[in-house]
Structure formats: C-alpha cells, structure tokens
C-alpha cells in the first residue's frame, strides 16, 4: 500500500511536469498575436487522474484471486462470442433498414464502410503481419479511379467497381514490389510516405483531379440498370416497380451494397485463410525465416497479401465515391489510415468479428455520442455540450491513439483473440 502510494505520487509529479505547461498554459490566438492564458484546473484534474489511476492500477494488480478469474474468462468469451454474437450482428445488419430511419441507415453505411476497410486491412496487418500505414491511399485510388472513369469515359459504377479494385491492387503491387523485401518497420514508414504522396498528388495535379475542390457529380449506382431518381421515368427504380420515388430507397440500396461488399471481403478472407495462400500469410506473420527455409517465396506471398488488401480498399473507395457523389483529397488523410488501423488492432489483429465490433463501437458509437451531445447542446442551449460535440473527432483520435498503446501493452493479440485453426485432423 505504501509502495503503491509512493509510486502514484511519483507518477503525479511526472504528470505535473507533463501537463502544467502543455495543458495548464494555453496559447490563445488573440487579435494582436498570441497570448498566454492559464488553465490551472484542467491541469490539476489531469494530474489528479494520473495519481488516482496509478493507485487503482496497483490495487487492481494486487487483488487476491486474480489468476484464476482471468484465465477462466479469457477461455470462455471468444467461443461464445463467435457462436452467438456474429449471427446476431449479421441479422441486425440485414434488418436495420426496416427501421426506416434515414439516420440509422446512414450511420450503418458509415460503420460498414469502416468494417469493410478494417477487414481489408486485416488481411495485410492481421494475417500477413505487414504494417501498412498508407492504407487510405488505396482507398483514394479506388475512389478517384471510379470518379475519373465516370467523368471522362462515362462509365457506370458496376463496370468501374472491379476496375477500381484492380487499379488499387496494381498500385499495391507497384509499391509493394520494391519495399516488401525490407524489414517490417521500413515497410510501415514507406507506406506512410506513399499515402502522403498520393494525397499531395491529388491536391496538386489540378488538371486531372480538380485539386482541393475535388470531383463532383459522380454518378450514383444503378440497380440492374434502373436509376434511383425522383423523376418517374420507366428506367428508374420507382417507375419500374410502380412505387413512389423516395430518396430513402437509394440510401437503403447503398446500405445493402456496402453490406454485400463487406460480406464479400469477409467471405474471401475466410476462404483464403483456409487455403495454402492464407496459411502462408499467417506463417509469414509468425516467422519469415522459417517460411523461406520451407521454400515459400516470401516476397510474392507478401505481395499477394498487400495487393489483396489494396483491392478491397479500392472497392470500398469506389463505393465511397458513388455514395458521396463527391470526393476530395481531404477524405484521404493519414487520420483515415490511422482510424482503420486502430479498428483492426482493437479488433484483435486477425479476428473478423473483432474488427466488426471495433468499427461498430469506435465509429458508430462515437458518432452517435456526438449527435447525442449536439442535440443535448441545442436543446439546453448549452455551449459546453455543443463545443464538446465539435471537439469529439479530436477526442476520438486521442482515444484511438491511447487504445492502440493500451491494447499493445495489455492484450497484444486483441480483445477477441481465440484463433480458429484452418484445418483439423480428426
């Protein structure tokens, strides 16, 4: 107890050094340059939190009977989760549009986009163990491929969807070929640089990409050639089925589209895992040198993982473009890559269900929280709530960052970690 107190006190002293200047003093952009403002309470609260947090950590670590409990919990949770949670989630996802709420369907579409990106990146990071920090670049390649093909050649979504995937995979191979020979951490920083290069190109190659203004009026997808449109033409969905045209039809259609794309990603991944290629990816993650000694061509195997992951990002990018009908370089920053990575890591590096859950909570949950806060803020006329809602994206990234660190320290193999074998001997 005394030792715990002493350690908590020392931590608080360090926190004092960290937080007093950076939180306790704030640089305000005033009318005549910067002014320094004091904010002692915020700093004091943080220091207090560190003290209490550290103390609680010690007490938690020393609690009696800890061993038995943790072992039991960790063995039961994954199996039950896999058996029940996945079907329930799937059913909920299929039934969601029945609520008829545009808000939930839009939110669902957003979450599913991240689920798909997460599953795509999971192939690269979770299965093959390659840290890709520029995943969003392939998402951008997919989105711009569709937008540009539609703009210049008038191609429709369904033709462009596979093309976008192929383009992204092609870029994956192009980038991957020279760098995949390198050590893992070099790959990380090269992909990071690549993501930035793509973004800078998109901003500055104005004649092709319209620069920061982005591309507008990207065509919407059709349902077997039928348009989703408010006019009652025969070639519209509403006209064909003889129902009243409503925008929600398109929203729901897009929702099912991304659900189908995400499920396709999941199906291909699960399928590949049980094949030699997928097994080789996992083996690569476990031990590259042993793979080489068994005659596995390490570079091409990595390349296939990299390109497969990129391809799904390309699909997702084409979907993003058609859903928004507008894309600009702003949508493809490092923050997006980091978000997807955080989802994969929180999901447990390799666990499909974990990725879905992480996206649901970290994207859907926080988005709902933000909307809740801003509604409360409006109703109560409270600036504090509205301000908090406005800052939430920043806090979200802060939470993501912390989550990455905490996950690595506590459960490096993830929350839902029970790995299922890809072959069994009976």
């Amino acid at each position: 107890m005394m030792a715990a107190l002493r350690d908590a006190f020392l931590s608080a002293v360090i926190a004092l050094g960290l937080f007093v200047p950076m939180v306790g003093l704030v640089l305000d952009n005033g009318d005549r340059g910067l002014v320094l403002r004091g904010r002692p309470i915020a700093a004091a609260v943080l220091v207090g939190l560190v003290f209490v947090g550290r103390l609680v950590m010690h007490l938690w670590a020393d609690r009696p009977g800890k061993e038995a409990r943790t072992i039991r919990a960790s063995k039961i949770v994954p199996k039950a989760a896999n058996r029940f949670v996945a079907p329930i989630l799937l059913a909920a996802a299929v039934l969601l549009p029945l609520t008829g709420s545009r808000y939930y369907v839009d939110l669902g579409t957003l979450v599913l986009t991240y689920v798909m990106l997460g599953w795509g990146l999971n192939i690269v990071v979770g299965l093959a163990g390659l840290l890709d920090l520029g995943y969003v670049a392939f998402y951008a390649v997919g989105a711009y491929s569709y937008a540009l093909l539609a703009e210049h050649f008038g191609l429709g979504f369904w033709i462009c969807l596979p093309l976008a995937g192929i383009m992204a995979a092609f870029w994956g191979v192009l980038l991957g070929f020279p760098v995949l020979r390198l050590r893992g951490d070099y790959l990380a920083i090269v992909t990071l640089a690549f993501g930035e290069i793509i973004r800078v190109l998109l901003i500055n190659w104005v004649s092709l990409t319209h620069g920061p203004n982005g591309i507008t009026d990207i065509p919407r997808p059709t349902l077997f050639g039928l348009r989703f449109s408010m006019d009652d033409g025969d070639d519209t969905v509403a006209g064909f089925f003889g129902i009243e045209a409503e925008t929600i039809h398109r929203v729901i259609f897009l929702y099912y589209l991304i659900l189908a794309l995400a499920l396709l990603t999941n199906w291909v991944t699960l399928r590949l895992r049980r094949l030699p290629l997928g097994r080789a990816w996992e083996a690569l993650r476990e031990d590259e040198i042993a793979c080489r000694s068994l005659g596995i061509n390490v570079t091409t195997t990595k390349l296939t993982a990299f390109a497969t992951g990129a391809m799904f990002a390309g699909f997702a990018g084409a979907f993003f473009a058609t859903r928004q009908a507008f894309i600009s370089p702003e949508s493809f920053t490092f923050i997006e890559s980091a978000t997807v990575l955080a989802i994969v890591v929180l999901g447990g590096l390799g666990s499909q269900l974990g990725v879905a859950l992480a996206a649901l909570v970290m994207v859907g949950g926080l988005e709902m929280l933000r909307d809740l806060l801003s509604t409360v803020g409006e109703q109560m006329g409270s600036e504090w709530f509205s301000g908090l809602a406005g800052d939430l994206p920043t806090y979200r990234m802060l939470i993501f960052g912390l989550a990455l660190v905490v996950m690595m320290v506590l459960r490096p193999r993830g929350l839902v970690s029970g790995r299922t074998a890809t072959a069994e001997m009976r």
Binding site: V268, R271, L272, L275, P276, L277, R279, A280, E282, A283, R285, E286, D287, I289, A290, C291, R292, S293, L294, G295, I296, N297, V298, T304, R419, A421, T422, A423, E424, M425
Partner: protein
Amino acid sequence: MLSVTNLTMRFGGLTAVDDLTFQARAGEVTAVIGPNGAGKTTVFNCVTGFYRPSSGTIEVAHADGSRFRLERMAGHLIASRGKIARTFQNIRLFAGMTVLENLLVAQHNALMAATGFGVMAVLGLGGYRAAEQAGIEKARYWLERIGLVDRANDPAGSLPYGAQRRLEIARAMCIDPELLCLDEPAAGLNPRESEALNQLLLGIRDGGCSLLLIEHDMGVVMRISDHIVVLDRGRKISDGTPAEVRADPAVIAAYLGEGEDA
C-alpha cells in the same frame, strides 16, 4: 549428393570459413563438428541459402541425376528446387498455428499448385479438396513417426521443447527433401529424447534422405554419423569415418586445446 568446393565466407575483415571443401554422400549421415567458433553454422547457412558465400561453389545432385548450383540461388528456391530442408538451432516453428498447420505450410508449394494459384480454390473449383486431404495424410504420417498425432490440433508453441524439436524435423521432411540439414538437433534434449531422435534420424536416412548435421553432442554424432567433417577456425582439419576422426591427432589437439570451453 552435396559437394562444397573451395567455400570461403568473410564478414567484413573476419574470415569465418576459409577455403573449405567437403562432400556429403547420398544415403549417409554427414556430421560437421568442431569447437565453438569453428564456422559450422556459417557453412550451414551458406548451404541452406541464408548467406551468400564470398567465393566457392556448392552443388547438389539429386537421385534423378539433376544437379543444382546453390551458391547463387534465391533463398526459397534452395528448398523448393534444390530440395534441401533445414531446422534451426533456436527452434523456429509457427508458434501460434497448430501442429497440423505447421506441416501444411511446409507443403505450401505443392498445395498452392493444386489451388490453381488461389483463384480457383476461392471459388471452390478444382481438385483442391483432394490435394488438401493428401496433405493432411502426409502430415499424419509424419506425426505418427514423431508420436504427436494426438497433439495435431494444438498450437505448436504449446508443445514441450523436445516435441517442438521433433515437429521441426517433421515439418522440414514435409517438403520432400533430398538432403535434410539439422542445426544441433540434440541440443537441450534429455537422454531418452536424444535416443528417440537418433532413431528418427536413422529412419529418415534409411528412407532415402541424406542428412547433414551440426552437433555438439559427441554421443549423438559418433553413434549416427557415417561420415564426419571436423572444422577448426574456418578450416577443415579432418574428414572421415567416426573411427578415423576419433583417432586423428589434429582433432584431439583442436578439442583438447580448447577443451575447457568447447
């Protein structure tokens, strides 16, 4: 089987292996021994493609008469084309994967061809199912030989040390090698496990696969080797049958000279 000719390996200014020539004959167990720092592991890494030798040639001749030069071959081809398998001094299993999966990964190239390189099998086409079944049967055969059938579905990392050693050998055998290279296979084994290992290795040899091993445990070396090459400070000091080598004064000098720490 394997001919190493004038092999030299330098790291910066240090010459780890100096103009080494020896042969490993087909159907025999060849052991490379020597005091610490003699260059055994370096030779080994050159043969298995992890180092590029500074000079010299390494040639392997298969039972069907085909010959391959290994010293400039890409690392993974030495296993897949040169048919040389190896194990590691510090065991390198895919610890998170099951025992069976470890053995299936070793059959990667054969199974991969059966999948039509991925595309067909994702769609469920082609004869992959049969190929995988054959792969599992081959794995079962080796698991029976090393006595680990009942652990097939457990993570490889959860096996006891001795079992991990045997599994690594079984995994190497799953690539159907003509030459199996073992880096200190008996290290850390108790006498009973060590004896079982001897039987396993002799069985592999009698099955038609030649063996090249580095070993510190003289008991193992003398009992199972047909041919011994002794290195000291990167040079070959003796070469012959166990009895010849044991009687060679140069070997005795090398070992006694460094007797305390060898």
